[in-house]
Symmetry: C2
DNA sequence: GCGTATAGTTACAAAAAGAAACCTAGCAAG
DNA sequence: CTTGCTAGGTTTCTTTTTGTAACTATACGC
């Protein structure tokens, strides 16, 4: 079964500033890490939890639901026992790749700088 | 008077993932907005507070101190009455511009999409 | 029957954020 | 002389968010 959520967002309740608009969807650390780990493809809940690392079950569940409501993430539930739930990015979610790339690039450059200064 | 803070960061206490490294410095909504509003140039505390909008004095103070400790922001105190404190970005802070730009670009595209869907 | 596994919920504790008052020091108005 | 204003900051208190740990449901293998 596949649950989908349309972008039920009214333009008028988005902030005027585009940066804030983006932050409304991925202004949280966990949301960015979900994005990072789903970018290569589908993952199950537990798998995602382990790959993110340090996130509690409760918070990950909550963030995934929000991201689903925002149309960034798709949730596929398989009626098996034990339950299997797979998460993947929607096209909208995948469209955030450039943002993720810029975060990664800056982080890489920064780490290099710190390593050089630490000598 | 000018207070400066070197990047006193040891490479080993940075996360392995560059994305997480970046998030450690600007993983918070307010930090990104400070960056956005200081990118054009120096601002006084109150000015910054108003331009960000919706941030409490306590939290803005705390975030600015953190960003100063991280070497992103410079703090200039003028010994006047009433006090004047000016904030500006360091070169490291300004180097985050590409990240900010990607957030802005995505937000702009998203708003366009939402506006189109809302008809 | 009993333990295992998975995604999720619930109840409680800890941490962060927000709201509002107070502090400082000098200057100006009354 | 007293009162009020200024701007950045701190303190206190309340609310919201986050984290921790225990518990649920259900089929499978033993």
């Amino acid at each position: 079964m596949t649950e989908t959520t349309a972008l039920g967002v009214s333009p008028q309740d988005l902030p005027a500033c585009p940066v804030e608009t983006t932050l409304r969807l991925i202004g949280n650390k966990w949301e960015v890490l979900v994005l990072r780990d789903l970018m290569p493809g589908t993952k199950r809940f537990g798998e995602l939890r382990r790959s993110i690392g340090g996130v509690s079950q409760k918070v990950l569940t909550a963030k995934l639901r929000e991201m689903q409501a925002d149309g960034l993430v798709e949730r596929h539930v398989y009626a098996e026992v034990p339950p299997r739930v797979e998460y993947s990015l929607t096209p909208l979610g995948r469209s955030l790749k450039p943002v993720l790339d810029s975060l990664e690039q800056w982080g890489t450059a920064y780490k290099k700088k710190v390593a050089a200064a630490g000598r």
